[in-house]
């Protein structure tokens, strides 16, 4: 199996804050919608979350949006502190994975992550009636008491590999493996692929002079790269 370093480039100039990525992510990854009570308690889950920041006073307001998936750090602070190896950095893909079946729910990783991408299941997940029968069979449903987070939809990589093997190819094509958020973004603000592969668009996009990473000075080396708003 060939090695890859999957990463994401998000162009903030293109992002309109529409929320399509959040919705697609929830749909793809079996994230239940929050009840009003859960929302009031601060217990909503959103693997991909659009952080909103506004500057200035009305009417001269500048609003900016920052879509925030898991940063998939090359030097993740979360994997180090997990007492049971339930979160780990895959050497093969560069994706930070979660083992729901092993997690003991201590929430140390959630405290260690400076980006707040780890979500805890405070309650048993529940869907409104018809939705319960429309879950994505490729993604595990998480039970109460464990941590979950964005996985770059790595179940899609699995499908892409199967497809490639079926077609006799030894490589997964860039277009074969795209997470739900990048696939659905109407302004194509999200580019996804192998950062180390010069043939992938994401490799070129990451070289953009506008490129920066969130809280780069912490040394976490995120594989999610943002392009600063231009002008």
């Amino acid at each position: 199996m060939d090695r890859a370093r999957y990463g994401m480039v998000i162009d903030l100039e293109r992002c309109t804050g529409c929320g399509a990525c959040e919705t697609a992510c929830a749909q793809e990854n079996n994230i239940p919608p929050s009840t009003p009570e859960e929302a009031a308690q601060g217990r909503t889950k959103s693997w991909m979350k659009i952080l909103v920041q506004s500057e200035g006073e009305m009417p001269d307001v500048e609003v900016s949006y920052l879509p925030r998936p898991c940063m998939q750090c090359d030097n993740p602070p979360c994997t180090r502190v997990c007492p049971v190896h339930a979160t780990y950095l895959s050497a093969e893909t560069g994706i930070v994975g979660q083992l729901y079946g092993r997690c003991i729910g201590c929430r140390y990783c959630a405290n260690a992550c400076p980006y707040g991408v780890k979500y805890f299941n405070w309650q048993r997940p529940q869907w409104p009636q018809p939705m319960e029968e429309m879950l994505n069979p490729d993604v595990a449903v998480r039970y109460k008491g464990v941590i979950e987070k964005c996985t770059f939809c790595h179940h899609r990589l699995q499908l892409a590999r199967d497809q490639a093997a079926f077609e006799g190819r030894d490589q997964v094509r860039e277009s074969d493996y795209q997470p739900a958020c990048s696939e659905v973004c109407p302004t194509r603000a999200i580019t996804f692929g192998d950062l180390d592969n010069p043939l992938h668009e994401v490799h070129r996009a990451a070289q953009d002079p506008r490129a920066f990473r969130l809280m780069e000075d912490l040394g976490t080396q995120p594989k999610v790269i943002y392009l600063r708003k231009g002008k």
């Binding site: 952080l51 602070p77 959630a110 400076p114 109460k144 464990v146």
Partner: protein, 456 residues
């Protein structure tokens, strides 16, 4: 007069005084035990609900992932530093006044440690998978270091409590005042201190050597325990936690709260068991001086901690800094300063208030203050994530969390009360030995401090 009381009255006066609590039980005792037991039951009931429904019954949320359970974890393990550490330091430094106070201190350590150690398990989302910590142990996680150090500490301090109790257990066994079968097993055939045979002398000598070595061995273990608890916070990147001072700061706080708890327990034992001749004013006076040193150390570390944050003026650090000094957490923060410094300092700095009563008040203040300190560390950083866009949260513990906290405290009080009925809370043989031999020994020792050879 019952036969037990007759047997008690026929004992020598020291043994009679110190063993009386084992056979004579007052109404106050039963009342305290009933109240503590009721509190424990409330806590257990709350936990059963939480176990079934999940951590949703707490007020925890994102990003306040940790709350009362982790605060209590740090707090109770901190209290446990009373015993073993204080007693070991006093033994190693050959402080003669330790004799009457080490036992009750060591009991605090062993009994409170378990209640501290279960807190992270109560806090787990999946307590049923607790053993994954052994099956899939990831030694790079500070939580695993903690599991190791607390296990070693619990083992070492239990042995360190039990060994010096052997001669006392032999005394109870031979006096026949209570459950002979139990004490025959517990005493492990150790000879009564009255036994003057060659074998008994050899065993006593060996016991004292082992106690001396254990006293040295438990000091680094105790220090490692609270250092690592400090590391659990300090080794994350969260503002307010990521600080090199946390290891030693936590150790100092632990010893400080430990002495505070010891004051409360010494005061209550003295008063309720009428042991004024054994736990004397001088014991409070000396321990009060040590307490004053800890008060100043606490201020020194706290000052260093906040000056570093303030002077660096990092944006993320300053959010939790101002939250404590003037913001939403100003009340718990300044209450902490009052209870951890102002009250104990004012009481301990003057000899006139370094009395048993003054020490007990200072002890209560510091126990509350050190709980608040952990609250300010865990919660204020919890509500202030480094990435500001996540938002500012708030946290007020739910009734279930308070119930479990009450149950934990009550559970500790329950077992401590039970222990006070089973074991003498002041070491009999050490007090007797002190009366018999230490006066001469100390006089000899003082002789070696002074310049004998120099002629005036």
């Amino acid at each position: 007069m019952s036969s037990v009381e007759q047997r008690l009255e026929s004992l020598p006066p020291i043994r009679r005084d110190l063993l009386r609590p084992l056979v004579v039980t007052t109404a106050t005792y039963w009342l305290a035990l009933a109240a503590a037991f009721a509190g424990t039951v409330v806590g257990i009931a709350c936990y059963v609900v939480q176990y079934r429904q999940g951590l949703g019954v707490t007020s925890l949320h994102n990003p306040v992932y940790w709350g009362i359970y982790i605060i209590d974890f740090v707090f109770f393990i901190g209290i446990s530093h009373a015993g073993t550490l204080i007693s070991a330091i006093l033994r190693v430094s050959q402080a003669e006044w330790r004799r009457a106070i080490t036992r009750s201190a060591e009991f605090i350590t062993v009994l409170v440690l378990g209640f501290g150690a279960i807190q992270p398990i109560i806090d787990l989302g999946r307590p049923d998978r607790m053993l994954n910590i052994l099956f899939f142990a990831h030694m790079r996680s500070p939580l695993l270091w903690d599991v190791v150090s607390i296990t070693v500490y619990f083992t070492a301090s239990t042995v360190y409590l039990y060994l010096p109790m052997l001669p006392d257990l032999a005394i109870i066994r031979d006096s026949g005042i209570k459950w002979p079968g139990l004490y025959r097993v517990l005493a492990l055939g150790f000879p009564n201190p009255d036994d003057d045979s060659e074998r008994a002398r050899r065993l006593r000598h060996r016991l004292e050597r082992v106690i001396g070595r254990m006293a040295i061995a438990v000091i680094p273990v105790a220090i490692s325990v609270h250092t690592i608890i400090g590391f659990i916070f300090a080794l994350t990147l969260r503002p307010g936690w990521h600080s090199t001072i946390f290891g030693p700061y936590f150790v100092v706080g632990a010893i400080y709260s430990g002495i505070a708890a010891l004051f409360i327990s010494m005061f209550l034992i003295r008063k309720n068991f009428h042991l004024e001749h054994y736990l004397r004013d001088i014991h409070f006076e000396y321990l009060g001086r040590l307490f004053l040193v800890m008060t100043c150390l606490w201020l020194y570390f706290t000052g260093a901690e906040y000056l570093t944050a303030f002077y660096g003026h990092e944006v993320a650090e300053m959010r939790s800094f101002w939250d404590k000094f003037t913001g939403a957490f100003a009340v718990p923060f300044w209450a902490m300063v009052a209870t951890c410094f102002v009250i104990p300092f004012v009481l301990m700095v003057r000899r006139r208030t370094r009395t048993p009563g003054g020490c007990a008040i200072a002890g209560v203040a510091v126990v509350i203050g050190m709980w608040l300190e952990r609250y300010n560390i865990v919660v204020v950083t919890g509500v202030n994530p480094r990435l500001e866009a996540i938002g500012h949260a708030s946290y007020a513990p739910s009734l279930f969390e308070w119930g479990i906290a009450l149950g934990t405290l009550s559970g500790f009080i329950t077992v401590y009360l039970v222990a006070a009925k089973l074991f003498p809370m002041v070491s009999i043989w050490e007090v007797e030995e002190g009366l018999a031999t230490s006066e001469a020994e100390v006089a000899d020792r003082i002789g070696t401090y002074l310049p004998k050879e120099v002629q005036p």
